[in-house]
């Protein structure tokens, strides 16, 4: 996350609206879809404002390399990767310091809710590709990964949901977009387990006072819960339970 200097463009207009017309406590529009890839055991696609991410889950399957296998539980891997064309300047392909870090913390967030003990000596691979980035990609990536894991039929204690909050022009705001992230004062992505309200991932850069921090935390929690509702809705709408013979009669 680039902490740039002050911007010439005001991030808030005189009515308190943000550059994309949102209120301070408003999420960007989010679209989700599951089962988008045929070859993967589970997959999901998430569009979150200007972010476009696709997640694929493989497994549980044989552990490779074999020496990593654990006879007590499954091994979880998580790969966060940005496509070279996902940002304005070309992103050099391959893992870099930033994506290795995001992969690690996201994996650790998922490890605490995926029931790895069900599948000893196996491996569950999660791949997330960022096709288009507009700040908040790690949250969008984790949201997509949780959907893909559910779609793969992997047992979990909850559906992870993530959201960020930050500070722009001295005010706490939900779900920053790129300009707000670059020229704002702070950004704080979190991932939660909505059922228990526990925090699974927590990062922050920039500075906030104690009050601002508490406000941002609550805001991000509420944002993540909204995201969680959308995740549930997406999964439930994929399969609708109807009676085929009754439907046939109706059509006739």
């Amino acid at each position: 996350m680039n902490m740039g200097g002050k911007s010439d463009i005001p991030l808030l207009d005189k009515n308190g609206k943000r550059i994309d017309g949102r209120d301070l406590e408003e999420l960007r529009p989010v679209k989700m879809e599951v089962g988008v890839l045929k070859k993967a055991d589970g997959s999901a696609y998430v569009e979150w404002g200007g972010n476009k991410v696709i997640a694929a889950v493989y497994g549980p399957r044989e552990v490779l390399p074999k020496h990593l296998s654990n006879p007590y539980k499954a091994v979880l891997t998580y790969r966060y990767n940005m496509a070279p064309f996902s940002v304005d300047d070309r992103k050099r392909p391959g893992p870099d310091r930033r994506s290795i870090e995001i992969s690690k913390i996201s994996r650790e967030a998922l490890e605490s809710i995926v029931m790895l003990e069900y599948f000893p000596n196996t491996m569950i691979d999660v791949f997330v590709e960022v096709l288009q980035a507009d700040a908040g990609t790690r949250c969008a990536a984790l949201t997509a990964a949780a959907l893909a894991l559910a779609d793969a039929g992997i047992p979990m204690r909850d559906l992870v949901a993530a959201c960020a909050a930050g500070k722009i022009e001295g005010k706490v705001a939900l779900d920053l977009k790129k300009e707000e992230d670059n020229y704002g004062e702070a950004d704080m992505p979190i991932a939660i387990s909505p059922r228990t309200n526990s925090i699974l991932l927590f990062q922050m850069d920039g500075l906030m006072t104690r009050e601002e921090f508490m406000k941002a935390l609550h805001l991000a929690m509420e944002g993540a819960k909204k995201i969680n509702e959308l995740q549930k809705k997406t999964l439930k709408e994929k399969y609708k339970v109807i009676n085929l013979s009754e439907e046939g009669e109706k059509n006739e």
Binding site: E62, A150, V241, S245
Partner: protein
């Protein structure tokens, strides 16, 4: 009425006794661990919509021989685990790539899976479906499978691991495959049996379209 549940969704209050599969307990409540189907009228039980096959002793599976070892064969059983088929010196001779049916004789707590009573499958067509949909293909006491067998007149062997082997007339195999794919796609719905009967009764006129579709 069946409903769709997601991981972490509350199913009901905890009662003493053993926990059903794919259900976990937190405090006084029971929650679903998977994305699946739940019927509150039939008690607390969740059927996953997707998921890898986990070998269980007694299951009949269809495997593909991967390689030879000193005392047997490694067999891909479309699962998180690879099966090992022990074959005595005078037993069956297999080659990598052979398709066999076998029975799961045991699986230990770390996933080592042993197979027994192999039978080689020759010719025919092998298709794969999601292993969670296999009970639907069987139907109650094998009724759905009987229906497909009678309707098409071909040989069908269903492995619990989601592999199905079909042998017989080519046109009939395609018809059976169409029916099986239909059951797989609509396994969560009511009234599938009637639709399957209807599909099997119609003539093979529309078979050509199926060929193009697959």
């Amino acid at each position: 009425m069946r409903m769709i549940v997601v991981p972490g969704e509350k199913l009901g209050e905890a009662k003493p006794g053993k926990l059903p599969q794919w259900v976990f307990r937190d405090g006084d409540s029971l929650y679903s661990a998977v994305y699946g189907l739940f019927d509150p009228e039939k008690g607390i039980r969740v059927t996953p919509i997707h998921g890898k096959y986990i070998p269980r002793p007694g299951d009949i599976v269809i495997g593909i021989v991967l390689s030879m070892r000193h005392s047997g064969y490694l067999v891909d059983i479309n699962s998180a685990y690879i099966g090992f088929l022990h074959v005595p010196r005078e037993g069956i001779r297999l080659e990598p790539g052979d398709v066999i049916t076998a029975k799961v004789s045991s699986r230990d707590e770390v996933g080592n899976t042993h197979l027994e009573s192999p039978r080689r499958l020759i010719k025919g067509k092998l298709i794969e479906i999601s292993s969670t949909k296999v009970p639907r293909i069987f139907g109650k006491a094998g009724s759905m499978l009987d229906l497909i067998r009678k309707g098409t007149g071909i040989q069908i062997i269903v492995g619990r691991n989601g592999r199905i082997w079909l042998r017989g007339d080519r046109e009939k195999i395609l018809k059976a495959e169409k029916v099986i794919r239909f059951i797989e796609d609509n396994a969560h719905l009511y009234g599938v049996t009637d639709k399957v009967k209807e599909m099997l009764e119609t003539d093979d006129k529309d078979n050509e379209q199926v060929n193009e579709g697959r």
